[in-house]
Amino acid sequence: MIVLLYVIALLITGVASGIIGSLSGLGGGIIVIPILTLLFGVPLEYAAGASLLSVIATSSGAASAYVKDKLVNLKIGMSLEIATTMGAIAGALIAVFLYSKSLQAIIFIVFGLVLLLSIYPVRKSFTLKNDSHTKQDSTTKKFQLSGKYYDKAKKKVIKYSGSRWWLGESVMGIAGIISGLLGVGSGVLKVIGLESAMRLPVKIATPTSDFMIGVTAAVGSAIYWEFGYIQPFILAPIVMGILFGSYFGSKILERTSSLRLREFFLFILIIVGIEMVFRGLGVA
């Protein structure tokens, strides 16, 4: 009954990942890939393929609630997706090339570095008082970056405007490359890009990012699929677990202290980041 144990272990991994992903916004990839590679010993390329599909699952699960509340800014998300999808194609092709030359150590190291490097921006975003989201520039009108939403907490309609579209596009291009290269959703980078670069309110940035990571991951998945990096047995229980986990995660989200959560995940980021770098260097 080893099979059953395997399935259950993978299912639990998926559920945990889905819950953590929807609670923290860190996304499935950051959790799934290290667990699969470091704990289960799965080769990196299959873990990455699994992760990409997981990102779609997390994105679709969480996003359906947001769309109804009009919290996803479809125009901003879609226009930025031009850069992310192109980046993802490039990143995925680079990854495929590296895998074919057995150079996945490079990807491990890049993965670890990205995790460690994102600690500073994530830490900063906890205390960021983002009040500047009514600032407009020439790109605001051109790309129709304004919108409004109903804030349930404040009980009023909030108007906002995005700006610096070109900067946002550049950040998203990088996010796309990272997504394709590492097999992650780059949700963290996207939220930072939306909040800081484009000066959007948090409540719009997070759902919009959730929408975007799904599209980006679809691009990566397609390419990984073609090269055979989608393994059915590992993936199926994990994706199922995530679909459930992210659903429940968003349910309990309201009742948890977000600061405590984020501190916890910063901690995880550090540990996992170091482990991945070590793995790439051949130490772990």
Binding site: L53, L74, M78, E81, Q144, V215, S221, I223, G228, P232
Partner: protein, 129 residues
């Protein structure tokens, strides 16, 4: 907003359908002790022979009627990938309806990128293979 409700519904249906197909696939794999012409041991192997390159799309539809576990799982994945793609496609129609030509073009570009990734790249690679 007609479109947004359609999109939300599509998301819901898509994720449930995908999960269901995956569940059926796993159960079938266990029940039949394998699928797609390989035994369960071969499939479980973490660095597997059985993966998405070795399993062509044509096999999948034949496999469904044969209650083949792997086929169900792959179909579940296909549905999953189709979800964001459908989302983009529906958005094109929404912008068309709103006569928002700028965003019709923008969304079309994103859609083309998706198609490029799915169709063009593989056939380019096949040319080298």
């Amino acid at each position: 907003m007609e479109f947004e409700r359609t999109i939300a519904m599509m998301l819901r249906i898509g994720t449930i359908l995908s999960a269901a197909l995956l569940a059926i696939g796993i159960l079938l794999l266990i029940a039949n002790n394998g699928g797609g012409g390989s035994s369960l041991d071969q499939i479980i192997n973490l660095a597997p022979q059985v993966n998405s390159a070795s399993f062509s799309l044509a096999n999948i539809f034949g496999g469904i009627s044969g209650f083949d576990g792997i086929s169900f799982i792959f179909l579940g994945f296909i549905v999953l990938i189709a979800i964001p793609i459908s989302r983009v496609l529906l958005s094109i129609f929404m912008f068309l309806y709103q006569k928002n030509w700028l965003y019709v073009v923008i969304t079309a570009i994103v859609f083309i990128n998706l198609i490029v990734a799915i169709l063009l790249i593989p056939s380019m690679i096949a040319g080298y293979g």
